[in-house]
Symmetry: C2
Subunit: 246 residues, 2 copies
């Protein structure tokens, strides 16, 4: 009987070892080879001695997938790791797309804590009610589509969590996004930002949407914009469960 060819696509959570699920730890322990972007490999390396680690730089995602499948085809059990959850702006989708060329390899996604819920825990409880995630990166998505989502999500009074709010080339995108959201949300809307969730240098701040508009954030920051009910309770960002009294 042939050994099953297997790749785990593993979300390692926001960054600390403690943030990984038991299932994620087990997948890495069962693996011969761990593949990932350099920064994520560095986060887990010390906890999984004796494994082979393979890295590729950012933006070489397809190469990274092919590398993982090649190892699996050679009989290695492989984990492809992502920060947060592999299924939220992560590698799980591309692994299934590339995996169509490797029908003998079984793919198993192992869920992790994504930055939205990890960051929410730092801020308090901003995501208690309906919310949406929007990435401000226009690398693979036309800006007009992002703009439309920001406007409609604001009109629908969702709590909004922004991923990739900034980069060197896109330093004014958060400001542009805030201006769009201000068409439907009050300038007093309670907002929060969290930097380096679950990693060294974790920090957070609560502010109004009007203040957020003029705040510079970096690419390691996750941004939260409340709904019309979100409140600042003693420095914590809290969205109530509903619109009726409990």
């Amino acid at each position: 009987m042939n050994k099953e060819k297997k790749i785990y696509v593993v979300g390692i959570g926001p960054g600390s070892y403690e943030g990984m699920t038991g299932a994620a730890v087990a997948a890495l322990e069962k693996s011969d080879v761990i593949v990932g972007y350099t920064v994520y490999i560095d986060l887990v390396k010390d906890h999984f001695a004796g494994k082979s680690f393979l890295t590729t730089p950012m933006r070489k995602e397809v190469d990274r997938c092919v590398m993982a499948f090649d190892e699996a085809m050679n009989g290695q059990t492989v984990s492809m790791i992502c920060s947060g959850d592999a299924g939220v702006y992560g590698m799980a989708g591309l692994m299934y797309e590339v995996g169509a060329n490797y029908p003998d390899v079984d793919i198993e996604v192992v869920a992790g804590v994504t930055a939205a819920t990890g960051g929410a825990a730092v801020l308090g409880a901003p995501l208690i009610h309906d919310f949406c995630l929007i990435s401000l990166s226009d690398l693979l998505t036309p800006w007009e589509k992002i703009e439309k989502r920001l406007l409609l999500a604001s009109e629908a009074d969702f709590v909004i969590c922004l991923y990739n709010p900034s980069s060197h080339k896109r330093h004014d995108y958060l400001k542009k996004a805030c201006e769009l959201m201000l068409q439907h949300k009050s300038p007093d809307t309670v907002c929060g930002i969290v930097k380096n969730i679950g990693r060294e240098g974790e920090s957070s701040q609560i502010m109004t949407l009007d203040e957020l508009k003029d705040t510079q954030v970096d690419m390691f920051t996750t941004v939260f914009i409340g709904n019309s009910q979100t409140r600042n309770i003693k420095g914590k960002m809290v969205t109530p469960r509903g619109y009726r009294d409990v």
Copy 2:
């Protein structure tokens, strides 16, 4: 020096012990008392022998919070547990609201894997791009608000994940929701449902939005509606990372 009065609000993930993060396990191990809804206590009980377990029935959420704070005020270290993530339709918000009356008690939220990302891992990779979570429960939210969100989220071409898609009293809500989404989404939109995520009897199914409209689901099911790019790749529900070729 007084002992710090401490409550952890802990997301235990979809259900299995393996789905808990290391930080969640550590919080429960540090606790004297574990408080939760009966079903969740039963999920963790065997792994945390020697702890005191306190339960309240569903819908007694405020009582459950007060119970937790009373234990903390008596010097006990307490964990309040929720399934999934405590910050997503969970108890974290109410704990901060009730906690305003207990200024001496420190609240720490420990993030977990919510049904959206846990279920996504079962279906493939449906949440790779912008998505939103909408609860169909109108217990605390007027149906008109839910309806507006379904329409605007569909118009924005979000992937949509539905929590609480059904109950005894609301057996036709998923059908109503599908009819609204069909105003902006194609009947061929790839959808998926996952039942009992991470628990005994886990099962999943992929179908079109048109088929979903006439599907009966129960309250232990999480429902996923793709965006216009979501595809069925060999039985897996996969949303591409963007709108341009990679």
